[in-house]
């Protein structure tokens, strides 16, 4: 048992901290996406440090992972500083290509990802295929010298700045629903690809995701990732990874500390808010639950040294997303009516950030397999309980 970072790991953490101190400007801070020129430039610097391709072979533009927990440490520090994160380009795209893609595909895309030369849109969800992702219908036909894609995708968050779409498509309409799915890579400027914004609930009106339409989009044959009809397996692998590695719990810790700091300083009617016994009790309960989030994340990291965490990742995901909303919810409770003041009011505590968190954190509870889906994963894979939608199980049939 060993809970401390090694000397090397601690050294790397300090190096990241120093880097952020020097390079992270206000312009960059505040969002996880690489969607503005300033943020692109910032992530370019991470790439120049060799921090995007850590652990991948050098022949693909990777850099020797200096130490075991480097990726985790980097993500934690980025989240604590509210900087853009390494995120899905490496976590989903590079990992999946590296483990399943052709040599040609690795040569073409991995170096670009590690140099931050391309942004990616994960294009999975459809109007009729949300939680039930395997019900996706986006059609992909083999036309001899190319694939022909037709379909509609929804909640494609990065579509408006992406260079490539990473699209889950149906390549075998007759197979069982999760057995006829493949992944293809599509150029964002392909003919027939269009998108329209879906504006998210929130004060600024600037948070967006997108609906994407593929209308007879031609895709070269070599852009199908790995084997045909194995796409759902790749998706699931990537989701296990996404549930723990992409967004560190540190983001919630940072937000909780920010709210606690606000409570500590707040005074109403000459009384310190933090003297209120109800506030103290509720924040203590939540501080404890926040700590459990860091514990579950540590547990995942320990597991990750040996295998991809799956049920552990589901625990991490379910807890983290739940706690994220609890933080925003309690923040607004503590603020009373000031809690519902939006960005733009000089009276809005913390510039109204917690209102937006309250409204949008529900998104985290449904994204990347939501809280309830994650719990289903735990029930099915860890506890050995049968599919609620499958044929009836009798005693001794369950694992």
């Amino acid at each position: 048992m060993e809970f401390d970072l090694s000397l090397e790991e601690a050294g790397f953490r300090d190096e990241v901290k120093a880097f952020l101190e020097a390079e992270l400007t206000e312009e960059v801070r505040g969002g996880m996406f690489v969607d503005t020129p300033a943020r692109v430039a910032f992530v370019d610097k991470l790439a120049a440090k060799g921090w995007l391709g850590m652990g991948f072979p050098e022949k693909y533009g990777g850099s020797k992972k200096p130490i075991a927990l480097a990726q985790f440490i980097l993500n934690v520090e980025l989240e604590l500083a509210h900087a853009p994160i390494v995120g899905k380009n490496v976590g989903v795209i590079a990992n999946t290509i590296f483990h399943n893609g052709s040599e040609e595909m690795k040569d073409e895309f991995l170096p670009k990802v590690f140099k931050n030369e391309c942004q990616w849109a994960l294009s999975y969800t459809e109007p009729q295929a949300g939680t039930d992702l395997a019900a996706l219908q986006c059609k992909c036909e083999d036309k001899g010298d190319h694939w022909l894609v037709n379909g509609t995708k929804r909640f494609i968050t990065s579509a408006h700045f992406a260079d490539y779409h990473w699209v889950a498509v149906r390549t075998d309409p007759d197979a069982q629903k999760h057995k006829g799915v493949s992944i293809i890579i599509m150029d964002a400027d392909a003919e027939g690809l269009t998108y329209t914004p879906q504006w998210c609930v929130g004060s600024t009106g600037a948070e967006r995701t997108n609906e994407v339409f593929y209308d007879n989009v031609k895709v070269p044959k070599n852009r199908l990732v790995g084997e045909i009809n194995k796409g759902f397996i790749y998706l699931m692998q990537a989701l296990d990874y996404e549930r723990f590695a992409i967004i560190s719990f540190a983001a919630r810790v940072r937000r909780f500390n920010k709210v606690a700091e606000w409570v500590k300083e707040a005074e109403f009617g000459g009384k310190k808010l933090s003297d209120d016994p109800a506030i103290r009790s509720k924040f203590a309960t939540l501080a404890t639950r926040v700590e459990i989030g860091t514990m579950l994340e540590k547990m995942c990291i320990c597991v990750a040294a040996e295998r991809v965490p799956n049920t552990e990742a589901a625990m991490n995901k379910a807890w983290a997303s739940t706690i994220g909303t609890e933080i925003a919810n309690l923040a607004l409770d503590a603020m009373g009516p000031y809690g519902y003041l939006w960005d733009g009011s000089e009276h809005a505590p913390l510039e109204g950030e917690m209102v937006d968190q309250y409204l949008m954190h529900g998104h985290s509870r449904v994204a990347a397999a939501g809280v309830d889906t994650s719990k289903t994963i735990i029930a099915r894979r860890l506890l050995g309980l049968p599919d609620p939608l499958g044929k009836p199980f009798l005693p001794n049939q369950a694992k």
Partner: protein, 383 residues
């Protein structure tokens, strides 16, 4: 970073699991519950604990203990919690042993620790006063110096095993007044010292708790353990360790309750299918699973850091508060999964149902520890 047990830790866990599952069965626990006048634990089992080295597990080697750490005690306590094992392990091998190691004179150490390690002295911990609050500030039991003696007057509440114990570790006030952390002094005395009476308090867990009254109890100055008037400097560390071990015990109880409920959900058929196939049951069980993994991790994390000699008060408080919540929540939720059978005395899990809530309320409940968390975040209340 890794959470893996060492070979020795695995062996400790396996031995404890095997021994307790064989000896500390539901029937065994029920039997101890029934005998109202008995001591509430098995002396035979206690002797086995001593033989297996459990009573001296964390006592330094220089005092003939095994010199292991808090994390090892936590691993053992989780197994005890799984078997809801009624034993004075916490008050003896954790609280008394640690208090003596930290506060004892050389003579006290050499005499008293050996007795503990050998299973010859069982201790009860007389700390909690007749109040719903917990902690050093609540201590009112008065000890007055009188020549070469101290005379003790007052009472303690919720003292587990006090009647069956050989000795009492008694926390008194020799200076200052209620509401102050300083002024405390610890004593060690025989549980049948003249002037001490034990009145049984019936509890929902049917364990052996007592109100202990001290009427002109006269003990020599040599009965003092640790500094006079400054007992909290030692007791503070002892209580923190005890809280972590109690948390480990709670995590074990929660874990086994969850296993009972899971097993039942795979056997009970309604609507032509096992109830474990229903989404709501799956969600209940999965939620509890997450809490158990979180509880186990924070117990090990906190204990491991304390073994490195670090100040972990904030984490101790969170560990105690969270496992307290967990054991209550999971024992309640698990009972719900059993449906009507969850509330029939003969069902094994009613033992856990009766313990979950009691454990949550014990040793400062959640309130004392959450106050500590709040103080760390916001500082003390100013108004």
């Amino acid at each position: 970073m890794d959470m893996k047990y060492t070979e020795e830790q695995k062996q400790l866990q396996d031995l404890a699991r095997r021994y307790l599952e064989k000896e500390c069965t539901i029937d065994f626990v029920r039997n101890l519950e029934k005998k109202d006048e008995e001591i509430g634990f098995s002396k035979e089992m206690w002797a086995s604990f001593a033989e297996m080295g459990w009573l001296g597990l964390a006592i330094p080697e220089e005092h003939d203990g095994m010199g292991w750490g808090l994390v090892d005690q936590a691993i053992l306590a989780m197994q005890m919690g799984r078997s809801i094992c009624p034993s004075p392990y916490l008050s003896t091998a954790v609280i008394a042993a640690e208090a003596i190691v930290l506060g004892g004179t050389d003579d006290q150490k050499s005499e008293l620790l050996e007795e503990i390690i050998g299973g010859e002295a069982v201790y009860a911990f007389c700390f909690q006063e007749n109040t719903r609050e917990f902690g050093p500030k609540t201590v009112a039991l008065e000890a007055k110096a009188d020549g070469d003696n101290y005379v003790i007057n007052g009472s303690k509440m919720f003292v587990e095993f006090s009647k069956g114990a050989d000795k009492l570790l008694v926390v008194t006030r020799t200076a200052g007044k209620v509401g102050e952390e300083s002024g405390l002094t610890m004593f060690i005395m025989d549980s049948d010292t003249k002037g001490i009476t034990h009145t049984h308090l019936p509890t929902m867990a049917r364990d052996r708790q007592y109100e202990v009254k001290f009427e002109n109890v006269t003990v020599p100055k040599s009965a003092v353990l640790g500094p006079v008037g400054d007992g909290w400097t030692i007791l503070n560390k002892v209580v923190q360790k005890a809280a972590v071990i109690f948390s480990a015990y709670c995590a074990g109880t929660a874990e086994v309750m969850h296993e009972y409920a899971l097993e039942f959900s795979k056997e009970r058929v309604q609507f032509g299918r096992i109830i474990g196939q229903m989404q709501v049951i799956q969600q209940y069980l999965a939620t509890c699973t997450i809490e158990i993994y979180g509880a186990r991790t924070i117990v090990l994390y906190t204990a491991w850091h304390m073994d490195q000699g670090r100040d972990m008060l904030d984490y101790v408080a969170k560990t105690k508060a969270f496992t307290s919540h967990c054991v209550e929540h999971i024992c309640d939720r698990g009972s719900q999964i059993f449906g009507g059978m969850g509330y029939i005395e003969e069902t094994p899990t009613t033992l856990h149902l009766r313990r979950g809530k009691q454990y949550q309320l014990s040793m400062g409940g959640m309130a004392y520890w959450e106050d500590i968390v709040a103080e760390k975040m916001f500082g003390p209340v100013t108004a």
